[in-house]
Symmetry: C2
Subunit: 457 residues, 2 copies
Amino acid sequence: MTAERLVVIGGDAAGMSAASQARRLKGPDELEIVAFERGHFSSYSACGIPYWVGGQVGDRDELIARTPEEHRERAIDLRIRTEVTEVDLPGGRVRARDLETGDEGWTGFDKLVIATGARPVRPPLPGIDAPGVHGVQTLDDGQALLDTLTGVTGRRAVVVGAGYIGVEMAEALLNRGFEVTVLNRGEQPMATLDPDMGRLVHTAMDGLGITTVNGAEVTAVRTGADGRVRAVATEEAEYPADVVVLGMGVAPETSLARAAGLPVGVSGGLLTDLSMRVRGQENVWAGGDCVEVLDLVSGRERHIPLGTHANKHGQVIGANVGGGYGTFPGVVGTAVSKVCYLEIARTGLREKDAAAVGLQYVTATIESTSRAGYYPDASPMTVKMLAERRTGRLLGVQIVGREGAGKRVDIAAVALTAGMTAEQMTTLDLGYAPPFSPVWDPVLVAARKVVAAVRQD
Amino acid sequence: MTAERLVVIGGDAAGMSAASQARRLKGPDELEIVAFERGHFSSYSACGIPYWVGGQVGDRDELIARTPEEHRERAIDLRIRTEVTEVDLPGGRVRARDLETGDEGWTGFDKLVIATGARPVRPPLPGIDAPGVHGVQTLDDGQALLDTLTGVTGRRAVVVGAGYIGVEMAEALLNRGFEVTVLNRGEQPMATLDPDMGRLVHTAMDGLGITTVNGAEVTAVRTGADGRVRAVATEEAEYPADVVVLGMGVAPETSLARAAGLPVGVSGGLLTDLSMRVRGQENVWAGGDCVEVLDLVSGRERHIPLGTHANKHGQVIGANVGGGYGTFPGVVGTAVSKVCYLEIARTGLREKDAAAVGLQYVTATIESTSRAGYYPDASPMTVKMLAERRTGRLLGVQIVGREGAGKRVDIAAVALTAGMTAEQMTTLDLGYAPPFSPVWDPVLVAARKVVAAVRQD
């Protein structure tokens, strides 16, 4: 019997988790595994880049979970600096190019995993490719930014975008001693929150000395006589900049897959079934930042680039490819982030998400503390909860606060997954002791208030 | 129309929450509320006493959520230092004695709430009432202990009992500069955990400089020539002591209720229905530390004295008494505690709880970290998970670790309430970012391992 061959496109979280899990289930005599990665690195934590740039993580290698050599020791033929340029589905083969030598050739597959990730949004603005303007998607990006930060003499940094990457990079640059201005297109920073909660983030960022400009549409990057960035221009003003970081979000990298005729959704991500197999395909799987996932609350597909999903996808794909069984049922849209001391969390639907899918809702917002009010370091937090009108079903939770605020969103994430009503949540048996929580956990206080709102509606 | 009269026995969490909620729903013209409390204080956080004794909470009054005067301002006739001595159910009246004047008299009721709390276990050992031996159940107890701690010259403290109160008091005494020995009857401290997890607590307490003696059955308290405590004797040894704190647990205080013929369960707590009405009664409710609650995982009644349950009971009782509606469906047995930096949490069933109700199970124990491994202050934690054999239904979780460990138990508490399987938990969409969690949250790592154990069983 000849071994089957599994080809994996993309050597980061989803791709290499899939490869590793498949290898655990099938040895090299049964399954040959070839993986292609166009970058220099494998299996690294892109989510950790802001903390490496900010100095909390000392060394790039700490972000690498498993090196190409380690994968090869596990009988996974990982070829770095090798870019797949074409997928031939009917022929069961991919064409790949060695980026060092330029050599190109075809590799046949019995099974294919597409884990091509996402690419940063980078609008074609004048000057956007000038030296001193940086994305932060890959370890190479991070190294280039660090080189700029250590080489540059000025101390003015502009971050374009006020989502997760934007606020995390604002913290990193502040930690590196820069004056930071964040240019935000939207009404408030953290558009993944409702604007009333985003306003709390804005206020806190002000308090940290980060200047946030809302409604700022960037029109150009201005360069100096040396060709380097010197300012970022919006429709209204110009912001001097010695370094610029782009945090304008990412889009699924699916050009190869689309060229091969594979189905994508409204966000441009690949569409899969519950086993992470690409729809309509027998032997092609996809996972990570290049796919859309089912939002269990809205019933719609969404694109949520997040390492924790990518790892889960990889596990599921690897199990199925390796002859086991696993499914990824979907997400509820949980995310946590921080900017300095401020913790920001969300799960489920925002007001506009609910409205967009025809759900009517009531909301409640409460203030409470992370610990019993009398306990040292009890820190304030604001919790907003959405519940469906009439039924009272939990639809979403947003939390902004300090230490102890962010991970409380997990309570709501599990409750959303279970389809609980806010009323059911009011009697949840959550951990209580004065150093950990007020006698009514802030999430329960919010649930009680939203229950009252449902009843009065 | 004459107002109905509600009588409440017990002026702490359950009783006064019930009174306050009933008052919110019905004004004094509809409902007269009389509450009796034999102590000096109302609505205080007994759970906060260890932190007041330890010095983290500066003032006793910070532990008082609402004073008797504040209750009276809300038209609740709270009579402190007044002890109910008899409940006459057929006559619809209670007899109460003013502990200051000795005056005694009957008060009629239309509706009755029993919230008599719990009393500390205090075995009739020789010397147990000697000066220098303290319970820590009430604010009066806490003050007496503080007086001893400031007056005593020796620095040797013995804590009898290694449950929540025992370990919290060990921390408090350590903070006050005492050498602390904890005498523990059981195999390991924290008998609310399985012994393998309790052993981790033991090791950590050793590292903190707290001496824990397991298998130590106290036989007597030895006194000196001055009549004060000088040592605690066990069957094997004698432990010198300048102060002794008793933390041997509590039992439901139901002597009044039992004398009135009301039903109690195997732990001696009152038995209620889902609306917290005492079984077989039309107009009598009970809540807080004097009742048994339904354990949703085992299907059995248990006695769980905990402020957070007492508050929920009070809300439910107050809603029903006030003409609204509410139920307390039960608990899953969640508890968190800490001793210095060490966080200890549990929910659901231990191995012996599962065995006792006929459930067969598999277990998995994993080590992980509170944050991404590369992020500063990522601290280790151990998570143990029990799942039912064959079905894989989650049965319980225990966590021992440092900062960020304890409240993770809430994930499992909600999952238990929802009846999830461990396999369902493996795809939970929990908050992930490097400062908050590894890419696989420790609870998910445990779930994955227990799923594998279920499959292999």
